[in-house]
């Protein structure tokens, strides 16, 4: 007897008992169920929830792998920098190396394991209590979470945040498909407000920087936004590094190139909405242009604390920070985004617009993307409501003209 029939027998044995959902979840995760549907109309479609989730995960894997190498690279780069050596990033010479991979895997993989382990335990407990099947929703969330936190976040903080995010962000509303807020961003928001010292500053983005602080081997690495917010100059970082992602930042969001590839994959497979992605970028560019206009109109001088970020050329806002990652993987979450096509344009535009606004105006929150997306998550149903009402009104008018 193979594993499949074993699992199948277990499933039959526990049918109707309290633990049934837990066994069913393992069974259907690994294999196609033996049952077929009987009677009624059958709709054949290849895009069930599990497949949708798997496509998003596939789009995220390159970011994760890059994040692993980048964690190692930033670690050694910071050590070099502390020793006074300059280092030119090059893909094969000093990026895709075994040393980088070992350091990166050692720091990043525990994040992935904790995120999935804790999150799935919470999901299983809720499935057993509520007596429904385990839902696939956490598969994507569990992958997103390690990508949007700093490399050296303590694992217990991550597990507390995951429990909070899954319970408050999702289960209280009724589980996958019913949540108002994006659970991954709820987790990040929790971490950000609960443990701000671990989510910002110039230590947490580089492996071992926190432990080495204050010693002779001290190293540091600041994110670009952190540097801009303090009006420091950004000598030594060129745009290609930003684009390819050889910069400090949250684990998976640094490489813009891979995010763009992931976005194309999501759009091509019709899992992610291109309307949301495009409108978010338009929103961000609009806000960037407005700020550039303010600077060139000289309404604001170099002494202003907003000058550093306002003076950033508008297109650069897309390659610093994580607006691209948020637009592609977070804003497009089909559950929490607007559902109507017109609503998606408004929703995305406002996310981009507000992200850059928070980024510039609030130096305490150097990355406003997650706050902007959470805010618009809350308003998404309202946007949909008005879009639908507008549509209803227009058609009523048309009807009246016809009958009159």
């Amino acid at each position: 007897m193979g594993l499949k029939s074993n699992l199948h027998n277990l499933k039959e044995k526990y049918k109707g008992t309290k633990m049934a959902p837990a066994f069913n979840a393992i069974h259907t995760f690994l294999y196609l169920p033996n049952e077929t549907t009987h009677g009624g109309t059958h709709i054949k479609a290849a895009d069930d929830l599990k497949r949708t989730m798997n496509i998003v995960i596939m789009a995220l894997v390159p970011c994760l792998i890059f994040g692993i190498f980048n964690a190692g690279y930033q670690h050694y780069a910071a050590i070099d920098a502390a020793a006074g050596l300059t280092r030119e990033a090059s893909l094969f010479a000093n990026f895709l190396t075994w040393d980088n991979f070992v350091v990166g895997a050692w720091t990043v993989l525990p994040l992935v394991i904790v995120s999935y382990g804790v999150g799935l335990i919470v999901e299983f407990i809720f499935a057993v209590i509520k007596g429904h099947e385990v839902e696939e929703g956490y598969l994507v969330t569990g992958m997103l979470v390690p990508l949007i936190v700093p490399v050296d976040i303590p694992l217990w903080m991550l597990s507390v945040a995951v429990i909070f995010g899954v319970v408050i962000g999702k289960e209280v509303f009724g589980g996958t498909g019913m949540n108002i807020l994006n659970p991954a961003l709820t987790i990040r928001a929790f971490l950000f407000f609960a443990y701000p010292t671990w989510m910002s500053g110039d230590k947490v983005w580089v492996h071992e920087a926190v432990e080495r602080a204050g010693t002779a081997d001290a190293i540091s690495g600041e994110t670009l936004l952190g540097a801009y917010a303090q009006n420091s100059s950004l000598a030594g970082i060129d745009y290609m590094d930003m684009f390819f992602g050889f910069i400090p930042g949250s684990v998976g969001e640094t490489s813009k190139l891979l995010i763009i590839l992931g976005a194309l994959f999501l759009i091509f497979s019709k899992v992610g909405s291109w309307r949301i992605i495009v409108s978010t970028l338009i929103g961000a560019l609009t806000m960037g242009l407005i700020f550039n206009g303010v600077v060139s109109a000289e309404w604001i001088g170099e002494s202003s604390k907003f000058y550093g970020l306002m003076n950033v050329p508008f297109w650069q806002h897309l390659i610093i920070g994580s607006i691209l990652f948020g637009a592609v993987y977070m804003a497009t979450d089909p559950v929490t985004a607007s559902q109507t096509n017109k609503g998606k344009w408004i929703y995305g535009f406002l996310i981009g617009f507000i992200s850059i606004m928070i980024r510039v105006f609030n130096p305490a929150y150097p990355e406003g993307v997650f706050l902007a997306i959470l805010l618009m998550n809350v308003f998404a149903p309202t946007i949909d409501h008005y879009v639908i009402q507008g549509n209803v009104k227009r058609r009523m008018k048309r009807l009246k003209v016809k009958t009159a």
């Binding site: 303590p154 217990w156 507390v160 408050i168 929790f190 407000f193 609960a194 443990y195 701000p196 671990w198």
Partner: protein, 214 residues
């Protein structure tokens, strides 16, 4: 309870759980969110509301037959305002630091919906003794939730209870802090109080299905 008849005792015990002013009627949320970052402030707020609601209910109940119903809200407001001023002055005289922590929220007891709600719903139609018990009961229910929320927020947010460190010293890294534990800054913010109140409501309603409305 030998002291109280069964019916009277219910006036005290009912608001503690199945008819709690915060978790069931969802009144008085504003102050519950604002001042519960410390247990001490929660306790003082609970006592202050108990004083105002207990005495206020008696006063309103005594006057219930002579208040013209058209101006009853104004009369109620004057009674609350008078009592709140007493509380405020007492706090300023004997616990100045605490009154600074509570700041405007002592004054805002006047607008606490629980108080006006009990005046309207109970004191205007019942005798003074029963009104007094009702006031004390509801204030106890209010204070109970405040203390639960305050307990979690202060313990997890600052690592202290009533200002006494119980988890060790976060700067010297003693106690649990030596294991790498850190205080949860989110706990000190009002949104977390809302979430804790929500969790209490969730637990309470899943234990007693009769409370679920719809």
């Amino acid at each position: 309870m030998g002291l109280l008849s069964k019916k009277d005792a219910k006036l005290i015990t009912d608001p503690l759980a199945d008819n709690n002013p915060i978790t069931i009627q969802v009144l008085g949320i504003c102050s519950a969110l604002a001042i519960t970052a410390e247990l001490k402030a929660s306790l003082v707020m609970g006592i202050a509301v108990m004083f105002v609601l207990g005495i206020g209910n008696v006063v309103i109940s005594l006057m219930r037959n002579i208040i013209p119903s058209k101006i009853r809200i104004i009369v109620q407001l004057i009674v609350v305002a008078a009592l709140v001023i007493i509380v405020d002055q007492v706090l300023k005289a004997f616990a100045y630091e605490l009154s600074k922590t509570l700041s405007v929220f002592v004054g805002l007891i006047i607008t606490n919906c629980i108080i006006m709600g009990r005046f309207e719903a109970f004191a205007l139609a019942n005798k003074p003794w029963r009104s007094f018990l009702d006031g004390i009961g509801n204030a106890l229910g209010y204070a109970l939730i405040l203390l639960i929320v305050g307990f979690f927020r202060e313990l997890l947010g600052s690592g202290t209870l009533f200002g006494i460190p119980v988890l060790g010293d976060p700067i010297e890294k003693t106690g649990v802090y030596s294991l790498g534990y850190e205080n949860n800054g989110f706990m000190l913010m009002p949104p977390m109080a809302l979430i804790i109140v929500g969790l209490i409501i969730w637990v309470q309603r899943s234990r007693n299905k009769a409370l679920i409305e719809d």
